[in-house]
């Protein structure tokens, strides 16, 4: 689906449609390729999997830092008590 075709159906401008598509594209939820002077867009079937992978990495990292802080603060508190 080309941007021009898509824009015809919306009460927003063609640049606005392009901008939305760019955001979706950056998030890899849609794929695009250039055909002549047009960008043609289609849905990326792996979009959700990519998102899931991102969140998986995010939680690994976050929980790693969380564990480190929870353990170090506990040891510190225990030392102060004794």
């Amino acid at each position: 689906m080309a941007v021009g075709e898509l824009a015809d159906y919306f009460p927003i401008s063609r640049p606005a449609v392009s901008q939305h598509l760019r955001v979706l594209s950056d998030a890899r939820l849609v794929l695009h390729k250039r055909e002549g002077t047009h960008n043609v867009y289609r849905l990326n079937p792996e979009g959700i999997a990519i998102l899931r992978e991102y969140l998986d990495t995010m939680w690994s990292r976050a929980l790693h830092d969380f564990k480190a802080l929870a353990e170090s603060s506990y040891h510190r508190a225990r030392k102060e008590k004794s």
Binding site: A16, Y41, L43, L51, A77
Partner: protein, 159 residues
């Protein structure tokens, strides 16, 4: 696509060598102290990650300029054993309750000084609903009329 993505979730399990009350307190009260700095959606790189300790409380970031971006809300608050948060961030990293997924964190006391933490980020199929909507829009020219309302909604949500 809907069937494929229905069960997509993230599961994590780890052991923390500290008592459950302490582990829960660090997760909630000291949320900002461990939340990775690269994971935020606001414009300011200097921010505080805040979790309001009650059902309905906000989960959000506050930039050093005072600007706030909501990440989600507290759905369940059962100290020191369990919390459930909504994750209301869409695929373009903006606050968007229409794609709200759920994060459940359970704190299980293994012994006096050992806590198992289990995290489940589920209902990622909520993103799938939107992906499905986009698929209908992009794949089928015949479906144009019927999907216009849906697309207008997507565009509105993304702006």
């Amino acid at each position: 696509m809907t069937t494929e993505v229905q069960d997509i979730l993230v599961r994590k399990s780890l052991v923390v060598n500290a008592p459950v009350a302490h582990v829960f307190a660090v997760f909630t009260e000291h949320h900002n102290a461990w939340w990775p700095r690269e994971h935020h959606i606001g414009k300011r790189n200097d921010f505080a990650a805040i979790l309001e300790p009650k059902i309905g409380g906000r989960w959000f970031e506050r930039g050093d300029d005072g600007s706030e971006c909501t990440w989600g809300h507290v759905l369940a608050w059962e100290p020191p054993n369990r919390i459930v948060l909504s994750w209301e961030i869409n695929a373009d990293w903006k606050h968007d309750p229409s794609v709200a997924s759920e994060v459940e964190i359970r704190f299980i006391s293994d012994s006096k000084e050992r806590t198992r933490v289990e995290l489940e980020h589920r209902r990622l199929d909520r993103y799938g609903d939107k992906a499905e909507m986009m698929r209908a829009i992009f794949d089928s020219e015949g479906a144009w009329a019927g999907t216009l309302a849906a697309l207008a909604k997507v565009v509105h949500e993304m702006s």
